[in-house]
Assembly symmetry: C4
Amino acid sequence: MDSRRAESFSDGVFAVAITILVFNLLTVGSTTSQLTWDFLGSKWPSYFAYVVSFLTIGIMWVNHHGMFAQVSRVNRQLLLLNLLLLLGIVALPFPTALVAEHLINSMPPSATVAVVLYGINMIVISVVFGSTWLYLAWHAGGLGGTPLLRRLNWSTLRFTAGNVAYVGGTLIAAFLSPIAGLIIFGLTGLYYVFEHLPGATAEDADSAGESGA
Amino acid sequence: MDSRRAESFSDGVFAVAITILVFNLLTVGSTTSQLTWDFLGSKWPSYFAYVVSFLTIGIMWVNHHGMFAQVSRVNRQLLLLNLLLLLGIVALPFPTALVAEHLINSMPPSATVAVVLYGINMIVISVVFGSTWLYLAWHAGGLGGTPLLRRLNWSTLRFTAGNVAYVGGTLIAAFLSPIAGLIIFGLTGLYYVFEHLPGATAEDADSAGESGA
Amino acid sequence: MDSRRAESFSDGVFAVAITILVFNLLTVGSTTSQLTWDFLGSKWPSYFAYVVSFLTIGIMWVNHHGMFAQVSRVNRQLLLLNLLLLLGIVALPFPTALVAEHLINSMPPSATVAVVLYGINMIVISVVFGSTWLYLAWHAGGLGGTPLLRRLNWSTLRFTAGNVAYVGGTLIAAFLSPIAGLIIFGLTGLYYVFEHLPGATAEDADSAGESGA
Amino acid sequence: MDSRRAESFSDGVFAVAITILVFNLLTVGSTTSQLTWDFLGSKWPSYFAYVVSFLTIGIMWVNHHGMFAQVSRVNRQLLLLNLLLLLGIVALPFPTALVAEHLINSMPPSATVAVVLYGINMIVISVVFGSTWLYLAWHAGGLGGTPLLRRLNWSTLRFTAGNVAYVGGTLIAAFLSPIAGLIIFGLTGLYYVFEHLPGATAEDADSAGESGA
């Protein structure tokens, strides 16, 4: 199966998921009869969770892009791994809403439960993304791409690093501070902005530079 | 009419439908002032219905893909069958919400009504999908594909099997146990993960293998 | 500007608009603690409005498709007319929600107001669609298509017919019966299922038949 | 990386963002048990904010289109600027909801706060759009396009004009009248309907005219 339609469907899901994050904000204004800067400021967990989730889904999309640019075809196994990845992405607005609602001003253990569930969602996404990448790297030769084996060690390492940060953030949220955990998730997103998929986008950039008009 | 734009529109509808399933979860957190694991656990019907519907729409998309890959053009009849199929897909979040809300903790016959309606939606989708496939298989020659007549018996059989499972699950929900019915819908989704459209994706895989770089 | 991206953006808007119609149904289940067939049956205006709007947006998409298949480029005027058309399409879930809420069981003039507003939205869509079609037919030669002037009279007539039905339904809703008006909107949608854009899809079908593999 | 998938993802986000603006209207009908024209008329801030935001996102999409038509590849920097732009676009339904809710009938400073936040969102979008355009114009040569340097002065000027209008509208909303500020945002949108990206669409139109069939 041509990888183009899988990418277009995934693009659609990423686009909708990233956009509906704003729903957590839409009802903010209807809970008060007097809108003040103080009131809006008191809702900072909503904006914070919104930005971290937006960043995470956005970066995931960029890397998803880089990953599927390696192959020209997808098989059923890859489609199903991709579907599992999208299941994780699409679920993210749920813990985002929990964090927005319960990070502050709720009785313990509300904040902890919300951020830990958020972290578990992050870990699931990151493990499924890693698995999809390993599967794709392993089978790239049969899917119209070039074998990516020599890059495997480095990519394994990097994804492990990501997983470690998500696991670490989740543990910190569970035992120390939910807010600190959330900050770690945000920083991990920022880390992935600068550190990127080896092979995928790096090579793209190279070849783009060489063949540039 | 080129089949590409029909696919891109369908992709969009599938992508939005699969993503808005999460709306049934978004309000979970706002119904409590104290978020605990027990509270989140008590909402398992929401997650269960969410995953079954996600799986169903996801698999439908994969098979829709395989189906339209057979032809390069669509005619008005096919567009309308496709629109009817999308009507069924797009409606699915509605019974999903009913199941999430009423599977447990509601007075009888709430759970039964919710799961039976869910099953009826599944049956409608599966009948329309089957009809679309039969129409497409019959007219593939005139739509830029190869005639698929010799595969027809097998595909008819397989779709009948799917329909039977949805009908069976609905009957079991109606007369025995709503939860058992819901489990059958989930298992049917899993069955379609492994058992797939004859001709469509199988042939794709073959030709991909042969023409693989 | 290449017409492809305008089509892909329009497809996205149509896909989202047609899918979010289901939001009017999502909260149905949460308004009762006991779900019965009678209760679900009493919500028939919601389903009726849902199906009429789905049909209308779906048919609009099919005809939008046929219209833009005539040209290979779009200019700024066409983009803006298209944006105006999308504004009308995207607004449709609003009167749909009003009809679902107020067609029955609300004090007069609730039902009348809801269906008349629905009809006004239909009229606006149909007038903008007609204008877009006229503009496109007139300028097709300069946009990479063939001049469509000789088809103009017939298409003008047909669009006038559609407009007349929407105006008639709105007047009937205003002075006789809101439900009768709604039925007329639904029948008009069905009429457009069978009666279609002259030139556009008819010619497609012809050339598809001639060049068919 | 091919610019096509970045455009398709952006199209999806624009399409969803422009469509979910209607959510602010969906609940209007459920707040009254008697629907009258007076009641609907009293909700004019909702429609006004809806149209201004629709116009703004629609025009942004048209200009986004013109901008990315200049290049055939995107690099990571451009993807991230684009992601930041989408973050601004996707957030717009939030201040739109605040304006719809609080422009009239709320205690001061509700209306001022809502419109000023709306204006700040506009300013952020317009600054990020300007930066993205400058980056793209500067690097077009390396991204498969032609250098756009000689057009830079004019485009800088024009974007400055837009920024000035948004800043002016925000200041007027803060110190004089929120409604006047909102009108200025709407007029700025209309201004961009007629005044457009130099180089981008103008050149498209020229070359389209020259190579027109």
